[in-house]
């Protein structure tokens, strides 16, 4: 990540800024009142703000939401959803995983577990309810459902070497 400079503006708030690859200074002024100013300075004169956008708290959140799409799905991938004792989890098969080139049946029956693979995402395809003979490979994302212990065990089997 680019290094972000933090400058105190006494009586106003704090300014965060960084220099983008194109040379523009880009930043945000966080006012004490909650207002946020988004500032952009041209590469020709980085002292002056060329563009200033005043956002209130709600608008700032909306902007973050709009900008953070790819980032936030990445975050969600690490989350485990819990529904009344049932756990849903995502696991990506990475290279070196013991599950690579093995069937769903083989992975699920190494030891008795209270979880199963209910779907596999491969590239743009989603294979819902894959047959026992379905062969997993590196890059697949397996979707698991089970008890939280079962899901944890299955995750270990899918990621372990």
């Amino acid at each position: 990540m680019l290094p972000i400079r933090e400058t105190r503006l006494p009586g106003v708030g704090v300014r965060f800024d960084f220099t983008a690859k194109g040379g523009e200074r880009v930043g945000v002024i966080v006012h004490r009142s909650g207002r946020r100013d988004v500032i952009v300075c041209s590469p020709q004169d980085p002292d002056v703000c060329q563009e200033v956008m005043h956002l209130d708290e709600e608008e700032a959140l909306a902007l973050v939401e709009a900008m953070g799409v790819s980032h936030s799905t990445g975050e969600i991938a690490k989350l485990q959803l819990a529904l009344g004792g049932l756990s849903i989890d995502w696991v990506e098969i990475e290279s070196g995983s013991a599950a690579d080139a093995r069937t769903v049946y083989d992975v699920e029956h190494v030891e008795p577990i209270d979880a199963s693979i209910v779907a596999v995402v491969r590239g743009v395809d989603t294979i819902a309810s894959p047959p026992s003979s379905f062969v997993l490979e590196v890059g697949d994302t397996a979707i698991l459902v089970g008890t939280s212990e079962g899901a944890a065990t299955l995750t270990r089997l899918l990621t372990g070497g």
């Binding site: 400058t7 105190r8 503006l9 006494p10 009586g11 106003v12 300014r15 800024d17 930043g27 002024i29 004490r32 009142s33 100013d37 500032i39 300075c41 020709q44 004169d45 980085p46 002292d47 002056v48 703000c49 200033v52």
Partner: protein, 384 residues
């Protein structure tokens, strides 16, 4: 009674119109309030009760300083003092000296000259912060330097005000210096307390009801101001310290709740201050005020130029012009002297001076960009 109410209504409505007009043309209302005050003084000058004016002024000044203290956190003050030292020293030397020199030239007493020095020294943080925001300059590179000069000035007031208050009260400069020493200790303690234990007092004061907060903060403010007065180190400084000492979420609420109270009291203060002056003196002080204004706006330009060293010449010019405006504090200082019975010229000179700088300063910085020094690309090439 109806007549008094009518007159009051007329004054307040005129102020409302002036504030509206000022907002429309993008100016601070302070110079317009002062003008209105001069007008009121011309008609009712003799009827205004001095005691009422003084009481109003005390409360208004305490509120102004309290809100100023609220603006800054202890950490900001400490870090500004460290990073803005050069700018702060240059600022004091360049802008305090012309005022003192002018006062001595007029044949005033040393204390009156020091008062004038204070009036020319202190830029208006209220006007300047607003101008920077209006012109979308808060994100500019020169802005931290400007703000740090303002913080240093405001802190310097914590030493200057008690010194002048005591000296004007006839205590002489030595007792004034002593009380300034007390004030410095108090400021140091308040800063330390705010940095270490700021949360405790705020937690004691805080409450879900706005009314409770408003009344307890206002009450505490008046108490601290009274204590400051009793200990002879000026009510204003006590209020400032209280503002610094508060911290946390209470600050934001106190600011929202007391902001309107401050605005009303300050508007009344500016009007009443100008109203008690001898208008007849203004033509006499006009020329000196213009010269003093021109000189000290140039010295502020130099201050900004020095303070914003890290910026390119256009940025340094913006910083210098931004600092030109004097406002609320110069009036506060002049008011101290007028109440203490200083030379009758001081008040009118101060009002004229503030009018000139508060109107010209924001204009100068708005159009500072039109002055073509060199194109930014050219100077950038000359920097290795």
């Amino acid at each position: 009674m109806a007549v008094v109410l009518l007159e009051l209504a007329a004054i307040v409505l005129v102020l409302a119109l002036l504030a509206r007009f000022a907002a429309q043309i993008g100016f601070s209302p302070i110079p317009f309030y002062l003008l209105a005050g001069l007008g009121v003084g011309a008609f009712y000058g003799s009827e205004i009760s001095r005691e009422a004016v003084q009481l109003e002024a005390d409360v208004a000044v305490a509120l102004l300083l309290f809100m100023l203290g609220l603006e800054y956190t202890g950490e900001e003050l400490a870090s500004s003092l460290r990073s803005g030292r050069l700018g702060g020293i240059v600022d004091f030397l360049f802008n305090f000296t012309p005022g003192v020199a002018a006062g001595l030239l007029f044949g005033w007493s040393v204390i009156e000259a020091i008062v004038l020095g204070g009036i020319t020294y202190i830029s208006s943080s209220g006007i300047i912060a607003k101008v920077l925001d209006d012109l979308n300059r808060l994100g500019n590179r020169e802005t931290p330097s400007i703000l740090s000069v303002l913080v240093t000035e405001d802190l310097a007031m914590a030493i200057y005000l008690p010194l002048v208050t005591v000296a004007l009260a006839g205590g002489g400069l030595i007792r004034g210096a002593l009380s300034a020493l007390v004030a410095i200790t108090a400021v140091g303690l308040a800063l330390w307390a705010a940095l270490r234990h700021g949360g405790h007092m705020s937690r004691l004061l805080t409450h879900t009801s706005n009314e409770v907060i408003l009344l307890s903060v206002l009450g505490l403010l008046l108490l601290v101001a009274a204590l400051g007065e009793l200990l002879q180190f000026s009510a204003a400084v006590g209020a400032f310290l209280l503002g610094i000492a508060l911290s946390g979420p209470l600050v934001e609420r106190a600011r929202t709740l007391l902001g309107p109270v401050r605005d009303i009291m300050a508007a009344a203060f500016f009007v009443l201050f100008a109203a008690q002056l001898e208008i007849g003196e203004i033509p006499d002080v006009l020329a000196p005020a213009l010269i003093l204004g021109a000189v000290t706006m140039l010295t502020k330009l130099a201050t900004g130029w020095v303070a914003a060293t890290s910026c390119a010449p256009p940025g340094r010019l913006r910083a210098g012009t931004a600092l030109m405006a004097r406002g609320e504090f110069s009036v506060v200082i002049a008011d101290l002297a007028v109440i203490a019975g200083a030379t009758p010229r001081l008040g009118p000179l101060a009002v004229t001076y503030v009018l000139i700088t508060a109107l010209f300063g924001p204009l100068a910085t708005r159009y500072a960009g039109l002055i073509k020094l060199k194109k930014p690309s050219e100077w950038r090439q000359s920097v290795p």
